[in-house]
Each structure stands twice: as structure tokens, then as C-alpha cells.
């Protein structure tokens, strides 16, 4: 584990470096409080710190306060090393944000024991953060495909609608549905159906740019939000996605499977001031039309002009 040692006295610094290196720590030693704060505030900096109280540039208390002001970084466990023994000093040190203190001259065994206690606190924090992130992921993502779930993709759609209106940028939404998916489940079982859904998610994610958004809207329905897209070419993009399914059978444990998509498309130039739910109804209508046309095709919702799907080059 990395540890920062800050002490203006070279003798103290070398002694601490030695004891801590022997105890297995990777030691970064600095000679004043300003350098200590710099190290501790940087991303990926040490999370365990041993600070002398009296230092030039910024004292140990100042470093504690600066670290505690940083809200968006991992917890740093701080031990103050001081020759001060008065209760009021100790109270001031802990009040400034130190977790523990040791009086000089330090006893090597006591120092190591206190640092082990600090490490336990940091380990506990890591486990809590990990659990929180896992819960956050589960609350926002679909468990089977790992895509955003319906609630989140709808929130994102609302945000993108507002942003697009504010910035006058061009957005498009695509609602995709797997054709005859019920047949996959009925014929090959739900586990194979799950494989198809997972592979669909993977292909959809692979077919969009990093700043586009993909979510699972329903059972076998997926919602794509394409940002900053050219309204003239977005139909081509939808068709490329459709063809990437139609022309490349999926490998499943039940064998290769040809899976096709029907797509409804709606561009921001066509959606005026309507809310997200109204736009979904609109694009759902286009998807229904694609299904009614036999599936494996794209239909544009509310086109101002009739748009013919251009033939794409083969291969």
C-alpha cells in the first residue's frame, strides 16, 4: 500500500521511510505540507498519510483541512505525528480532520499497529463503495443484457430532447424489436432466448458511437438514442444496423440462428415540441408499421416527405 510521509525534518523522514519500507509500504516522502496536499489530492494518490504537525508552507492541520474539503475522492486516512501532547492540540488535530495521532518520538511497533488500523478502515470503505456501485448498476441496468433499463433510457431521452432543443442539434430515436422472438423461446427454450437477447445487446452497442445511448425498452424491444446525427443519413444508419443482424446469423448453443430486426425511426426535425412519451408513441407506430410490412425493415415515423430506403451496397 502507498503511504505519504510529510516531515520537514530529514532525520524524521528517513527514519519513517525506513520503518515503513521494512513494513512493506511504498513510501512517498515530502518535506512540506504543500507538497503533501498536492500528492494526496491527485487522482490515485496515496490513501494513507503520516503528517508532521509543524511544517513549512502548510502545516499538518492545513493539509488535513484541504483533504477533507475534497468530496469527490477516496477517503484518505490521516495520522498526525506531533511533539504536542496538550489535550487542546489533540482536539484541534482531530477537529481538522486527522483520524489518529502519534506523539514524537514514535515507537515503530505502535506506528505500524496504528497504520494497520487505518488500513482496516480503508478496506471497509472500499467494500462499501463497491457495494454501492453494484447497487447503483443494478438499479440502472437491465440484469440480462447489461444495457440501461427502461426507466434510465427514458430519463436519458428526456434529457436529450431538452439538450437538442437548447443546442438546436439533431437527434434520432430508434425503437427496435426482434422479429418472431416468441418462436425462439417456444422452439429452443428461454435460455436460448436469453442468449439471443444478450447478443442483440452486444451488436446494438457495437453498432453505435460511444456517445449514443442504448437501452432495453421491453421484452425484446430496444431503444437507441442517436445524438448529433445527420437527419439525411440516419435512415441509412438504421438500415446498417438492421442488415448487421439479417446478414450475420447468431451463434447460440442451439446452433446458428438467423435473427432479424424491425425498426421504427423518428428524427428530431420531425418531433416539434412533443414530450418523450408522445415521441415513443410515434416511433412505436412506425415500428408497428415495419412489423405489419413483414418485419426485417425500417419505417420512419411522421416523415415530412416520403422517404425511400436506398439500397445499400452488398458486402
Amino acid at each position: 500500500m502507498n503511504i505519504l510521509v510529510a516531515d520537514d525534518d530529514l532525520l524524521s523522514r528517513r527514519l519513517l521511510e525506513n520503518v515503513l519500507s521494512r513494513a512493506g509500504y511504498q513510501v512517498t516522502a515530502v518535506r512540506n505540507g504543500l507538497l503533501a496536499a498536492e500528492q494526496l489530492c491527485r487522482l490515485g494518490g496515496p490513501r494513507l498519510a503520516l503528517l508532521d504537525w509543524d511544517m513549512p508552507e502548510m502545516d499538518g492541520l492545513g493539509v488535513c483541512r484541504k483533504i477533507r474539503q475534497q468530496q469527490d475522492q477516496n477517503y484518505v486516512y490521516i495520522v498526525l505525528l506531533t511533539a504536542k501532547e496538550a489535550k487542546s492540540d489533540i482536539v484541534a488535530g482531530l477537529g481538522a480532520g486527522a483520524d489518529d495521532y502519534l506523539t514524537k518520538p514514535f515507537d515503530p511497533e505502535e506506528l505500524k499497529a496504528r497504520l494497520r488500523a487505518g488500513q482496516r478502515i480503508l478496506d471497509l470503505e472500499d467494500r462499501l463503495v463497491e457495494a454501492r456501485e453494484e447497487m447503483r448498476f443494478k438499479a440502472t441496468h437491465d440484469a440480462l443484457t447489461g444495457l440501461y433499463n427502461r426507466g434510465v433510457i427514458m430519463d436519458m431521452l428526456r434529457r436529450e430532447i431538452s439538450r437538442g432543443r437548447r443546442e438546436r442539434s439533431s437527434t434520432a430515436i430508434l425503437l427496435c424489436d426482434l422479429d418472431r422472438f416468441k418462436g425462439v423461446n417456444d422452439t429452443h427454450g428461454h435460455l436460448t432466448g436469453d442468449e439471443v437477447l444478450r447478443e442483440t445487446a452486444r451488436r446494438l452497442l457495437g453498432s453505435v458511437r460511444s456517445y449514443d445511448l442504448v437501452g432495453r425498452y421491453g421484452g425484446e424491444e430496444f431503444l437507441l438514442i442517436l445524438n448529433n446525427c445527420d437527419p439525411a443519413s440516419v435512415l441509412n444508419r438504421a438500415e446498417e444496423i438492421r442488415k448487421s443482424f439479417a446478414e450475420d446469423p447468431m451463434e447460440t448453443t442451439a446452433g446458428p440462428m438467423k435473427v432479424t430486426l424491425s425498426l421504427g425511426l423518428l428524427r428530431s426535425i420531425d418531433w416539434e415540441d412533443r414530450a418523450a412519451e408522445a415521441l415513443i408513441r410515434e416511433v412505436d407506430g412506425a415500428l408497428y408499421a415495419a412489423k405489419a410490412a413483414g418485419g426485417n425493415c425500417t419505417k420512419m415515423a411522421n416523415p415530412r416527405v416520403s422517404v425511400a430506403v436506398p439500397a445499400l451496397p452488398q458486402g
Binding site: 530529514l10 524524521s12 528517513r14 511533539a83 518520538p105
Partner: protein, 119 residues
């Protein structure tokens, strides 16, 4: 905490450096060099009757001396620090002279301690 009676507590110093000859030799070099600087600062502060500087130099010397397990000189440095903080520096000359004598006696003791751990 080293005994305040002894010039040097060799066993405590050796525990602190984990009987490492090279480390002790390095610390001794740093100590001798820094001691000279800080004693000069303290001497000047005493001559100028500058209480704040006496407190600061006394504090630094106390820390160094405690690290080297030099209890007696550390206690004298602490006394200088206390005088500086209180602002009553009437006896500072005499105590500084005592600190000079104690630190002078300390260096050969440290050399002896180093010889004990010579590989």
C-alpha cells in the same frame, strides 16, 4: 521515550533503526550537519533575545534529539522551547550553554553506538 537522565539511550536508538548500520550512519551524518545549523540559529536567537525564534529552534532541536534517543539534551531543548513560548528568556544564555555542552558530549556517544552495530 528516552530517559531524560541519559546522554544517549543506545538500546532505544538501535530499536528505532532496527540495528541497521547503514541507516544509523546516514542518520548520524544528517544529525551532525543539521545540529550545527540549528544550534547556530538558536545561538543567534538567544543573542538577539528573539523569543519566537528561540521557541522555533528549540522545538526543532527537541524533535531531532528525541529521534536520536538523546533524552538529556532533548529535555534542555524543550526547556528552551518553553522559555521562548512563554516570552521569559531571562535564563536563555545559561541554558543554551548547557545545551551546547550536552550536544558536544552526545556526538562521541553516537559514534560509539554506531561502532556497536558495525557489520
Amino acid at each position: 521515550m528516552p530517559s531524560l537522565e541519559n546522554i544517549l539511550d543506545p538500546s532505544e536508538l538501535l530499536i528505532r533503526v532496527d540495528n541497521d548500520y547503514e541507516l544509523l550512519a546516514e542518520l548520524l551524518d544528517i544529525f551532525k550537519r543539521d545540529l550545527l545549523d540549528h544550534m547556530q540559529c538558536l545561538g543567534m536567537a538567544v543573542a538577539n533575545a528573539d523569543a519566537a525564534s528561540i521557541a522555533r529552534a528549540g522545538h526543532t532541536l527537541k524533535g531531532m534529539l528525541l529521534n536520536m534517543a538523546a533524552g538529556r539534551a532533548a529535555a534542555t531543548a524543550a526547556q528552551m522551547e518553553g522559555m521562548g513560548r512563554s516570552g521569559d528568556i531571562s535564563g536563555a544564555q545559561a541554558i543554551f550553554a548547557r545545551l551546547q555542552k550536552e550536544t558536544k558530549e552526545l556526538t562521541p556517544e553516537l559514534e560509539k553506538c554506531l561502532a556497536q552495530v558495525h557489520p
